[in-house]
């Protein structure tokens, strides 16, 4: 692993870049010290102290793996331990550009590990390649601007030398957005925004803050908290993803009911494009000046320029938080309850409904322990709940203590009408904790021939049930047709409620033993699942974005003319395709 980069000798700058990649896995999700392992007794354990689950032993987890996937601890695959630097495509950069960079005092690196680290997001195939192969194309050089002006200089240089820039924030993309186009002949510059991570100012009167776009979610919240504020934007990736990334992908946070999605939170955006800087003249809550230019930027996925500074709404840190959970006799009743909650517009900060398969999983990783072990379980039996059908909603309330309690009662009252049974605060909290930990699970699966992925969509209320059922069924059938030997895990949860519909998240994983090209099979199944979503009236994406993974459906999604509108913007803003990551269009 490379040490903090010490810049070239000619440079009088000695910048120690606090590289996150020091802390993070090079071939998997999250922190180096946090992962699932099987200990000597064959029991699963989560290492590290970063999470509440850390150090905990999960005695029944192995059983779940075996039962769900037919996986066995005897059949293990291992990732290569370190990156083989010789496999990495060479860095091809013209010396003139390097000179210009140095003149501009911008840190850069041509190191292979640095470049590979920024050549991918966290799609399954990308992680698989890291473990077992090598990307055909990776960035030739990584640059670290530290402020808006640096970005302006870099973009100017890129135009001057005709280079390709791919902006890089937290690297948590799951849409192949960070993959370098194989056929790109120009030098690819990975523009890492991680050094632009300051809060520039906080305006308490208007409750806004101007922040550099490279800041990572948890740093933003922590730093704001020092002043008693928060943004409330909490995507599942908030430990690693960046503000600029959120803007570029139209991100959504778990507590959007209170704080809104990124498009509701943003007051002002500054973006550097090959044409120049785009921004508004004021920081107002709303304006009627033609189509909102922010909406060209949000979701542009790095195809137009680099977001450098964002003014974002902030809120006082809530006085009180309370978790909760409700058990429903079946998924249908659960969805009906969520629909009613949305109708009455009383959704808590977060409300999620997991299906039975995820409930089962939760049991095995010790979530919902109380339901399964204490007298609560007997109560369920008494009430006629079938543990193989029931499903669980987890809740998070936020605000004034009094209002929270009032709100809580309202929601539980509705739940009761749909046959729901309160299942305790602790279970709710564990449910949310699991969200952060679940991403680590895939790496464990990969060690035992299990590959998996999540994907999401948004769908009108009346189609939620049909969509969930059909997509899960489609996955099962496709697996069978493609020769997958064991029935896959195919499960979903409703994660967001809106007035007119919901956001649904699918998890899907299977044991690939006996399949020669698992990634290809996996991709075919994922594509089929997306086709199924679209046929069921779901969207191409609710918040993951399109990237290169879902481009094929863009025309169908937004019509020919719609696509043309986006193309013409791209053509004007970036006629030479400097931002050539080939996402979206």
């Amino acid at each position: 692993m490379i040490t903090p980069v010490i810049m070239g000798l000619q440079s009088h700058l000695y910048v120690f870049l606090p590289l996150r990649q020091e802390l993070l896995k090079w071939n998997g999700w999250g922190y180096n010290d946090s992962k699932f392992i099987f200990n000597k007794k064959g029991q699963a354990e989560f290492t590290g102290k970063r999470y509440r689950l850390g150090g905990m032993v999960l005695p029944t987890f192995k059983e779940w793996m075996e039962k769900t996937f037919g996986a066995s601890l005897d059949h293990k695959t291992t990732s290569r331990a370190t990156l083989n630097v010789n496999d990495v495509p060479p860095s091809i950069v013209k010396e003139e550009f390097l000179q210009d960079l140095r003149a501009a005092k911008i840190s850069y690196s041509q190191d292979a590990e640095d470049r590979v680290f920024r050549a991918h997001g966290h799609c399954l195939h990308e992680i698989f390649i890291l473990r077992e192969g090598m990307f055909k194309r990776v960035p030739d050089i990584v640059v670290w601007p530290v402020c808006h002006e640096d970005v302006v200089k870099i973009v100017e240089l890129a135009c001057k030398h005709n280079l390709c820039i791919i902006p890089f924030g937290g690297g948590t993309s799951v849409s192949s957005a960070l993959e370098c186009p194989e056929e790109e002949k120009r030098t690819i510059v990975s523009l890492d925004t991680s050094q632009m991570n300051r809060i520039l100012w906080i305006d308490e009167k208007n409750l806004t803050a101007c922040v550099e776009a490279g800041i990572v979610g948890q740093d933003l919240e922590n730093q704001l908290a020092e002043s008693g504020f928060c943004t409330g934007h909490e995507p599942d990736s908030m430990e690693f993803s960046s503000l600029g990334g959120w803007v570029a992908t139209r991100a959504s946070g778990m507590k959007k009911t209170i704080y809104g999605n990124i498009e509701d939170m943003v007051i002002h955006i500054k973006m550097v494009t090959p044409r120049g800087i785009v921004e508004k003249n004021c920081q107002v809550p709303r304006m009627s000046t033609g189509p909102d230019i922010h909406h060209f930027i949000m979701g542009s996925e790095g195809t137009l320029g680099v977001v450098t500074e964002v003014t974002i709404k902030i809120r006082p840190v809530p006085e009180y938080q309370k978790y909760g959970s409700v058990v429903f006799p079946n998924f249908e009743r659960g969805v009906a309850c969520l629909r009613e909650v949305a109708k009455q517009r009383c959704a808590p900060a977060s409300i999620r409904l997991v299906d039975n398969a995820q409930f089962q999983f939760g049991k095995y990783v010790d979530l919902l322990r109380q339901i399964s072990l204490s007298k609560g379980f007997n109560l369920l039996l008494f009430k006629g709940f079938d543990p193989n059908i029931l499903c669980v909603a987890t809740l998070l309330f936020e605000g004034d203590r009094e209002k929270v309690l009032q709100h809580e009662k309202q929601v539980y009252d509705i739940a009761t009408k749909f046959g729901g049974l309160a299942a305790g605060e602790d279970n709710g909290q564990r449910g949310y904790m699991l969200t952060f930990v679940i991403a680590y699970l895939r790496d464990l699966g990969l060690d035992y021939y299990v590959i998996g992925e999540s994907f999401e969509t948004s769908v009108p209320w009346d189609r939620v049930l049909d969509l969930c059922r059909n997509v899960k069924e489609r996955i099962v059938r496709e697996c069978k047709e493609k020769g997958v030997q064991f029935a896959p895990l195919s499960t979903c949860r409703v994660t967001q409620t809106y007035d007119a519909g919901a956001c649904v998240y699918f998890y899907f994983a299977f044991n690939y033993r006996g399949i020669s090209d698992p990634i290809h099979v996996y991709e075919q199944i994922e594509r089929a699942a997306r086709e199924e979503i679209l046929a069921n009236g779901g969207s191409l994406s609710h918040h993951h974005g399109v990237g290169k993974l879902r481009k094929r459906w863009m025309k169908e999604s937004i019509s020919d003319v719609g696509l043309g509108m986006l193309r013409s913007v791209k053509e004007y803003v970036d006629p030479n395709n400097i931002f050539g990551n080939k996402n979206l269009l």
Partner: protein, 740 residues
């Protein structure tokens, strides 16, 4: 009544008996789950068990219940209709289900423990619960509100109307009635039929399909027996009984109508295009039953019993209703199951002939049914029921349906299907009918009838045997599904056919003649009528061959008529004929060239023609085949010419169908009386209607909807032109497909 045919004794059963395990939720290895779904053995009393071991290896078709059609994109037709593997097609074997009935108690059979597996292990829903679900559905409520607003009525009144419609329509399936039918039908069927043969593997595939997705049963329709028999069959095999779309006319039969209702029939009015409330209630009723998978839905694509035993062109209304839940993704998939039911002798054969000649069909009435009792003393031979491979609608639709229209409108709003969808529904309908035809069993008598009709008035018996055997070979080459009874020698088989059909033909001094009794006495008119009756009845059997023969035969006719060997010209004439006969025979829409190629391929296969890039010519020995094939269709060619001639010369400017049929009948009748034509089949009202429809399609007749039904206007010039083309006086002009 002939005694049941003795059969070999059979070895003991070898089917593994496994209990059905409910599998729900949690994932697991594929294998056990599949066993759980399909592992329940088919039950059919002792004989079935005895029969089970007999064929050993042929039993593992259970898992293969998935789609028959290959998915694909691109041009219409291409994905759905592929040239059949004509003779190599492997078909299942048959079992006689009456054999068991003749051996054991009907009463015990009727009272047996009946616990069918159903879709996703649902518990059955009471008929009334279905009705109220329909009434309360968003779909129906929406239409009620709309109508209330438009008519200024209170929604309650319209809701009541909807309830009345539901009461008139709804089935009321009750086990008691089912058992009653099981008992009486056993008695009746044993009286009427020698054997009722079914492919058990088909039943097994069906059993599997029912558990997987909602199922739509699509039987052919030749007789009232069809739906009784099918329900009887499913009861026998312990499968879920279907709900059956029946014509409202049945309700005219007092007790019988109610009985049928209790056995699962639901009743639809013959036409309700204009009545929005009726349409909404009916569509929702069918969809509710299908969506929830309470029971398989059964209806007849042909819409009515085919009086000619020739498959009728499909009706699309009900089919598009049952497809909608899939289009809207309310269900994951829907299985369409083509079922071919063929009768060695059709119960209604003489009724049909009278009807075709314009003697009206007696109204359905209970007393009429009782009068029909005397047929019980008659013998109607064997029935063959072939349950086709369930076809997955999802597979058929893959890549064909633009999902947008369904995504942009709330699903409960009534929505006119897009052109895309209409075209797809039509394609599916034709595909299913072609599958029915493909699996339709042909008896030796069908071959005899075809030969005999070309050799009237009398034919030497030995020659008849010889020609029949020759035709048997040809039919098999063309993919026809012949069941030769118990490997009888040709003579015996044909004799037994003659015995069974003694009302049609008989053996006189070593010659076979049509049995047109009473022709000798009576006036000319009566002679023509009697003769026509005999010919139409006989034609009913020959007709069963036509859809198997139509493609090569039209090529043969085109070859003869054009007197040209140029492929292009032959194809043009073929294509013209195909258009003219598009309502007479079943052609998959829009693939004229493919049909032509198939016809040529089959003719080449039996050495009747040779082809190269540009030319087609008959071989030396091919003349016999070519002329036989064209003679087989001569009644249609000549009949259409007569009808067209009537329209070009005699018909009034504008007329209704009610005026047209008697008009053309008289016209043909007079020609027959004068001996100016021998084409008795032109008297068939079925052919007359089809010919008129063809002219409408070709644009030579204009069809307009008036308050009192349809009115037709003839463009005489256009009809004359078509007649000229028909007679090959002027060449058929049509753009030739690029890659001929």
């Amino acid at each position: 009544m002939a005694p049941p045919i003795a059969r070999r004794s059979r070895p003991p059963p070898s089917l593994p008996q496994r209990a059905r395990q409910p599998s729900r939720g949690g994932a697991g290895r594929w294998v056990p789950r599949e066993v759980a779904a399909a592992g329940r053995p088919l039950r059919r009393g002792r004989a079935a068990e005895r029969g089970a071991g007999r064929r050993g290896g042929a039993r593992n078709t259970m898992a293969a219940a998935t789609a028959a059609a290959a998915p694909g994109r691109g041009r219409r037709g291409a994905p759905m209709y592929s040239q059949k593997e004509l003779t190599s097609k492997k078909r299942d074997e048959f079992e006689d289900i009456l054999e068991e009935r003749r051996l054991s108690s009907d009463l015990r059979y009727a009272m047996k423990c009946y616990t069918p597996v159903i879709y996703k292990g649902l518990s059955p829903c009471k008929p009334n619960a279905i009705k109220s679900a329909v009434l309360q559905s968003e779909q129906v409520q929406y239409v009620i509100k709309q109508l209330a607003k438009e008519m200024g009525e209170s929604p309650d009144i319209i809701q009541e109307e909807a309830m009345e419609i539901l009461d008139e329509m709804g089935h009321n399936m009750q086990l008691g009635a089912v058992r009653f039918f099981a008992f009486t039908l056993s008695k009746i069927f044993k009286q009427l039929f020698q054997r009722v043969c079914v492919n058990e593997e088909g039943m097994q595939r069906l059993q599997h399909a029912i558990q997987e997705h909602p199922v739509v049963l699509l039987p052919s329709h030749r007789s009232y027996i069809d739906f009784l028999m099918l329900s009887y069959l499913l009861y026998t095999y312990d499968l879920a009984l279907p709900v059956i779309a029946a014509g409202i006319d049945f309700l005219g039969m007092k007790i019988v109508g109610e009985l049928l209702r209790r056995a699962g029939a639901f009743f639809m009015r013959r036409s309700f295009g204009g009545n929005r409330l009726y349409w909404a209630v009916f569509a929702e009723y069918v969809k509710t039953m299908l969506r929830n998978g309470y029971a398989p839905v059964e209806f007849f694509l042909e819409g009515t019993r085919s009086r000619t035993a020739k498959t009728l062109t499909p009706k699309f209304g009900l089919l598009s209703i049952v497809m909608e839940p899939f289009f809207k993704r309310e269900v994951f998939d829907t299985y369409l199951v083509p079922i071919s039911i063929s009768y060695e002798r059709i119960l209604e054969e003489s009724l049909y002939a009278y009807e075709l000649l314009g003697v009206p069909k007696p109204k359905e009435s209970t007393s009429g049914l009782l009068k029909a009792r005397r047929i019980l003393s008659d013998n109607f031979g064997t029935i063959h029921i072939y349950i086709g491979q369930p076809v997955s609608l999802r597979t058929l639709a893959s890549g064909r349906i633009n999902r947008c229209p369904y995504n942009l409108v709330p699903r409960h709003l009534p929505q006119k299907p897009s052109e895309d969808i209409q075209e797809f529904v039509s394609d599916v309908a034709y595909k299913m009918e072609l599958l029915q035809i493909e699996n339709m069993v042909l008896s030796p008598w069908v071959l005899v009838a075809a030969v005999l009709l070309q050799n009237l008035p009398a034919m030497d018996f030995e020659l008849l045997i010889e020609k029949t055997l020759w035709l048997k070979g040809l039919t098999q080459t063309f993919g026809g599904f012949i069941e030769w009874p118990d490997n009888l020698c040709a003579k015996k088989a044909i004799m037994s056919g003659l015995t069974l059909h003694s009302n049609i033909a008989r053996l006189v001094d070593g010659h076979v003649v049509l049995n047109d009794k009473g022709v000798e006495d009576g006036g000319v008119g009566e002679v023509v009528f009697k003769h026509a009756l005999a010919i139409l009845t006989c034609a009913t059997y020959r007709n069963q061959l036509l859809n198997v023969f139509v493609r090569p035969s039209l090529v043969a006719i085109a070859l003869q008529m054009t007197r040209s060997f140029r492929k292009e010209e032959v194809y043009n004439y073929f294509s013209f004929l195909r258009d003219v006969f598009s309502d007479e025979f079943i052609f998959f829409p829009g693939i004229s060239l493919k049909d032509f190629e198939e016809g040529c391929f089959l003719l080449t296969k039996c050495d009747a023609i040779q082809t190269n890039q540009q030319e087609i010519y008959p071989t030396n020995k091919g003349g016999v085949i070519v002329s036989f094939l064209s003679a087989m269709f001569t009644p249609f060619v000549e009949g259409y010419q007569l009808i067209f001639r009537y329209l070009s010369k005699e018909a009034k400017e504008a007329f209704t169908e009610k005026q047209f049929i008697p008009g053309v009948r008289n016209f043909v009748f007079q020609l027959l009386e004068k001996g100016n034509t021998q084409c008795y089949e032109a008297l068939s009202s079925d052919m007359q209607k089809n010919a008129l429809a063809a002219l409408v399609l070709l644009g030579a007749v204009k069809k307009e909807k008036m308050s009192n039904g349809f009115t037709y206007n003839v463009n005489q010039e256009a009809v004359n032109k078509i007649l000229d083309m028909f007679d090959a006086r002027i060449p058929v002009q049509k753009p030739v497909a690029a890659r001929l």
